[in-house]
């Protein structure tokens, strides 16, 4: 079974993100970039599938800050092939453009499954898997937590609302947005990553001729503005407790202090 895992880089959310001077993107200059955690889950599920059914795992993504680190780690974990798509990619890449580049590459591959993270910090509506599926003309499912394969069919476990889980059956090939893998992403020792860095090669593929049609334009990026309803209480614990009590009384949640 041949699996393609689409991965990407994101600004590390432990950093304090700032909006740059254009007002339409985060300041990318001093921010650390790390792999998208849901993509890591997709990779883990792919590696588990490879261990269970054999085949290959190809990791692909667009050239982004420190993407090589992600690719090297993936190779160290057991991926067979690492591909970096190069081209005119700057700053914040719209999901539709990303999907088009990935679909352009994947179309030429022999694949049974395409896995990617269910979402990313700048794609919380999780368009990527669906868009790739549409562009490839392949069925798509999302919020997947487990995959098993029987012959030319896959059984897909998905999380639904209200604590319900469903298992569905679908014919391969498929594009799946992975919510979590059957196990937590494995740890790969730094020494093995370093060994991979010294030995393995990353294939660089220039993206040509991809078109992705209409895509929305970002007008403004900003941190949520304080709505003004939060009050910070300061002082000694007793004073704070007393202030909280007064607020509760004022809002009618609790009875008055001297009341019965």
């Amino acid at each position: 079974m041949n699996i393609i895992v689409a991965m990407r880089q994101l600004a590390d959310l432990v950093e304090e993100l700032e909006v740059d001077s254009s007002g339409t993107d985060i300041d990318r200059e001093f921010v650390k970039f790390v792999s998208n955690e849901w993509d890591e889950a997709a990779l883990e599920e792919a590696l588990c599938l490879k261990e269970a059914y054999g085949g290959t795992v190809t990791v692909v993504g667009i050239e982004e800050v420190d993407f090589h680190q992600t690719l090297h780690a993936a190779l160290a974990k057991g991926a067979d092939r690492a591909v970096e798509l190069t081209g005119d990619f700057e700053g914040w890449i719209p999901t539709r453009q990303r999907a088009a580049a990935l679909a352009w590459f994947i179309r030429e591959c022999d694949f049974d499954l395409v896995l990617t993270g269910v979402q990313a910090a700048d794609d919380l509506n999780g368009q990527l898997a669906g868009a790739i599926g549409a562009m490839l003309g392949v069925a798509h499912a999302s919020v997947v937590t487990n995959i098993s394969v029987e012959g030319s069919e896959a059984h897909i476990t998905q999380e639904l609302g209200g604590g319900v889980t469903s298992v569905s059956r679908a014919r391969l090939p498929l594009v799946l947005g992975v919510q979590s893998a059957r196990q937590a992403p494995r740890y790969v020792p730094i020494s093995r990553i370093r060994q991979v860095m010294a030995e393995a090669t990353i294939e660089k593929v220039p993206v040509t001729g991809e078109s992705f049609g209409n895509t929305p334009q970002v007008l403004r990026l900003y941190a949520p503005e304080a709505s003004g309803t939060a009050t910070m209480l300061e002082g000694k614990p007793k004073e704070v407790a007393s202030a909280i009590y007064d607020v509760l009384v004022a809002k009618g949640v609790a009875g008055s202090r001297k009341g019965n």
């Binding site: 950093e15 790390v34 730094i190 020494s191």
Partner: protein, 725 residues
Amino acid sequence: MLTVIETRQIFAGETRLERVVFYLASFVAILIFFVGLAFRVRKYFAGRPLDLSRFRRKHLDRDLLGITRPVPVSRSIHEIASNGTVSKRNRGVGLAHLALFWGFLGLLAATTILSLDYDVVGNLTRIFGHHELSFFTGHFYLAYNAIFDLAGLAALVGLVGLIVRRARSTSIALDYKRAQIPEDGYSRARMAAGDLLFAYGLLAILVTGILIQALRIDASRFPPYERWTWMGYAIASAMHGIGISSTSAAAIHLWIWWIHIAMALAFVAYIPWSKAIHIMTAPANLLVRDSSATRRLPANNLDHPGYRSLDDFTSKELLSLDACTKCGRCHSVCPARTGGAPLSPRDLILDLRQWADRSAGLSMVLDWEQRPTASGPLVAGGRLAGDVILPATLWSCTTCMACVEICPVGIEHVPTIVSLRRSLVDEGTMDPTLQSALENLATQGNSFGKSARMRARWAKGLDFDLVDARKQHVEYLWFLGDFASFDERLGEISRILATVLRDAGVSFGILFEDERNAGNDVRRVGEEGLFEMLVEQNLAAFAGADFDKIFTTDPHSFNTLRNEYPVYGLDKPVLHYSEVLLEIMETNEGALANLGGRVTYHDPCYLGRYNRIFEQPRRLVELAGCELVEMPRNRTNSFCCGAGGGRIWMDDSVLTERPSENRMREAAELGVEQFVVACPKDYVMFSDAVKTTGNEGRIKVVDIVELVAEATRLVGAGSAGGEQG
């Protein structure tokens, strides 16, 4: 006049056949002994070659004797001869063992001399000369008897002392109960039987030996010169006194002689197949031990990470497994075992020994553990780290080094545990919390998962600006470590230390976001690659800064910077802040007011046991005018807080009592008001332990710099603090 020749006849009553039987039996016994020994030695050589170069190696400038420089052979010999490591914290056992040790060596020498005279000199002169010669006469004979009677008595007294002590002991060190109980159970009855056979067998050999001497003197009708054989003569006189005639003595003598010979020869043959092998392996191990190995862990010199098979071990490690006498001292002091974790250093060594013997096709007659089903060291195949030694066992170690410190035969458990952990890390077998800490360390350079730029955020609360050592020359580069930088509770202590140093006019600066976790605990977790990466990052940061010396807040960082970084090229002196503080306070007389109050001080493992800094923090406590009340376990015997070796990143729920709680209960007995620490991790661990042991409001955990700051503040305020206490 008849000349009296002071001697005795060898083989006085034995027939020719009996002599042949004796020599044949001796030959067989010695053969079994040497075959067993050869098998064991072959097992040791299956390991990686012993690195003897360390005894000749030119040492780095700041290598410290016993810390990063191996113990010299001369000192080891002295320790072996004086049984110094056996007496450590156990005077009585040490003395008894010393008597047995020298007594046994004396008796061995006596037998060897006798054999040399009769078998070598006697035979040679009979075959090549005209008549058989012997030097076993005259003054030599008299001195021989006088001296070796003393050896016999010493061995007897020592052995009886040890037997009585073992029989009466209720110590957990000797009950052989495992820390990790296999599902299907286990039995160590054969181990206990091995101990009894060894002790009582030796006792029987000694007693019969002394008896045959007395019987011979009685049988030969008390020649006056045999008074030199003072013990034998006295016993013979006593026997004669209770009615054993010289004739009956001669008859009994032959029987007892054969019993003695049979047991002694059986013992010789038994040595390499039992615990008795320690009489050879223990001194050998003490000679080749490397006390620096725990402080400066060896890099992974294998073509794969961590130990998997017998040949991954060093010869020294394999030898040390055979040196273990099951004395259980490590078992008693281990904080993991005390806290109910599935690790006992003793069990680890015994399991590894049994596994190593099985791997090498060797066996012990008795001293083995049995299990109804093959598991642990009895498992066939399986992973060494994972099946033979369980992951939970390996992850329980706090690397506090208490086991290495107390081991009388010089076993270094910690480097072996780390080598086994490297295998676990390689296959990703670890706590999720540890995994996320390591991932954070790889991406952010700190275990908190915070942005590197937040590292100096604590300094924002200062009313002055800290010097950036990357921009300006400073005398001291202050290396804070993760906890002192990121932990909310410790930010205040970092600010106090910064203020005290600023007020004292010390030239110091920090690296701001360029500091990375020093990697001490990362290395001890077994993530060698990540450790190397952190070393490279920190060395690059050091190269971009201008300073003369480093001091650290964290004793763990202190250990790796002081002892391990020099291997990678760091050439600056490294100090702990308690050393810097003491230097300031001692040069400024009257800088500290008298605080008074009763306090105790906890030695951090990595400051005390690892780096032998015991007195500096105590001196500071003294200068601040506090009354220092020592906990029963102090200095080299300090009890770990449970945070080291990466344990602080792991789940504690397997423990029945956290080591920090055990320690806090020890302190609570003393009636002290303050529990003084000199380590950020200690501050965190013990602040929690004060609450969980119900000592809140009774004992307060304070950092040593808080004491110093308070004492300087009182001086600055010109208050009456000096008259207190």
